[in-house]
Symmetry: C2
Subunit: 249 residues, 2 copies
């Protein structure tokens, strides 16, 4: 198959935005050509089976733990969404320039990844192997703690990143758009889908991150992508799920 010299392969579940979307946003904003392998037709080597066959092949060391997985044209393989986005951002101009700010962006992106893990735990507090419908009571308890304590804590942290940024850029770190800002954008999109009532009550306390969300949504580097069918909608198989019983003021 003919592939652009700098093209990369992304391996992620094809029917949910999930953690793969954090990687897609960086690829799209940076203008890096990529193949979204599991979403390609089977006759082009795509599909879920092709993805799983690749992930389970023992040709590479180490074999990745879980999607999303990125493979670059030189064979470099990595997984963990916060690591992939940092790697791409630092390579393709979506990261701060100086070393301390690069470390800060990595720490912020990893903290957002933890935040997203906790979103997932609201609908699966007893484990991933059982359906949501089998753990709705525990989910409501976990979701209450998430809305009352964890959402304000994480959003407040991110708000202070923007408001205390010495460059006054309106971004989380440094004076230009980074992969950490893209992760914040996607997380706010997901929270607006999964916890619209709680996000509405918290919004007055965190105006800077909402302003940043709008700025990312309007960034010309993302306009085509966000309007395209490459951008997957949220649904109830993913990380962010619209279960009204888990939301509240």
């Amino acid at each position: 198959m003919s592939v652009h010299a700098d093209s990369v392969d992304l391996y992620y579940w094809p029917a949910i935005p999930g953690r793969g979307e954090y990687v897609r946003l960086v690829l799209e904003a940076a203008g890096v050509p990529y193949r979204d392998v599991a979403r390609l037709p089977e006759e082009k080597g795509g599909g879920v089976h092709a993805m799983l066959a690749f992930l389970q092949s023992s040709e590479r060391h180490p074999a990745p733990f879980a999607p999303p997985v990125l493979v670059e044209s030189d064979g470099t393989l990595l997984w963990q969404s916060a690591l992939i986005t940092a790697h791409l951002g630092e390579k393709h101009g979506l990261a701060p320039a100086d070393a301390p700010s690069r470390l800060a962006a990595r720490a912020i992106a990893m903290t957002i990844a933890d935040f997203v893990d906790e979103v997932h735990d609201t609908h699966h507090p007893l484990g991933v192997s059982r359906y949501y419908e089998e753990q709705t009571e525990a989910a409501q308890e976990r979701a209450l703690a998430f809305r009352d304590e964890r959402m304000p804590k994480y959003l407040g942290f991110l708000e202070r990143c923007v408001t205390d940024n010495p460059t006054l850029s309106g971004y989380l770190v440094g004076d230009s758009l980074t992969y950490a800002d893209l992760a914040l954008f996607q997380t706010l999109e997901g929270l607006a889908y999964a916890f619209p009532r709680r996000l509405a009550t918290l919004r007055p306390d965190v105006p800077a991150i909402f302003a940043l969300h709008h700025r990312v949504a309007d960034d010309p580097r993302l306009a085509d992508y966000l309007a395209s069918d490459r951008r997957l909608p949220f649904n109830e198989d993913g990380l962010f799920r619209a279960y009204p019983e888990l939301d509240g003021d």
Copy 2:
């Protein structure tokens, strides 16, 4: 206060090994002088209050989200245990030399950090704000899923890292000890404390990581530390807790 030119400050809760221990092991194995701030006497600027005052001060951008936090002599600040250990390991000779293996070590360490987060969730499935005693039933369900599915999955992944390592070094990645191996060591120590019965039944399936555990325990770079009182024992306030009702074959 007089501080060694290359000394670093570690900020972490003083009474548990927790995620701070992952950082301490790298500092100790690398021979980096450090102050364990919250464990210093108050008259030397230590204690929990000094730690919290530092973490909540707004002098730095970004303010760290949570301990462990590392501050280097040049003022570089970072948090997230997997990021701190990668940074220290790469700087002080406890990381692979080539770029692809460096990325792999980072991904492995981040995957171990996720594993440890799931250990924590076994005793706090409904949220961190409530005591374990208030969520024992949910904890038993979550722990069962953890023992049956997640422990074998993570340990099997780590086993394959060692057995498929093309250098045949017996380490997770590359041909020498890295911070990822130290994280594996600490995680196996914690699992032996929290889930001794389950770890015993899984042990025959993962001999390579147990061999690696022994090798780290015997590494002369760690001998003094592991025998010292700087090495904190596990207890029921930490990540790894010995609750027999959560363990099983």
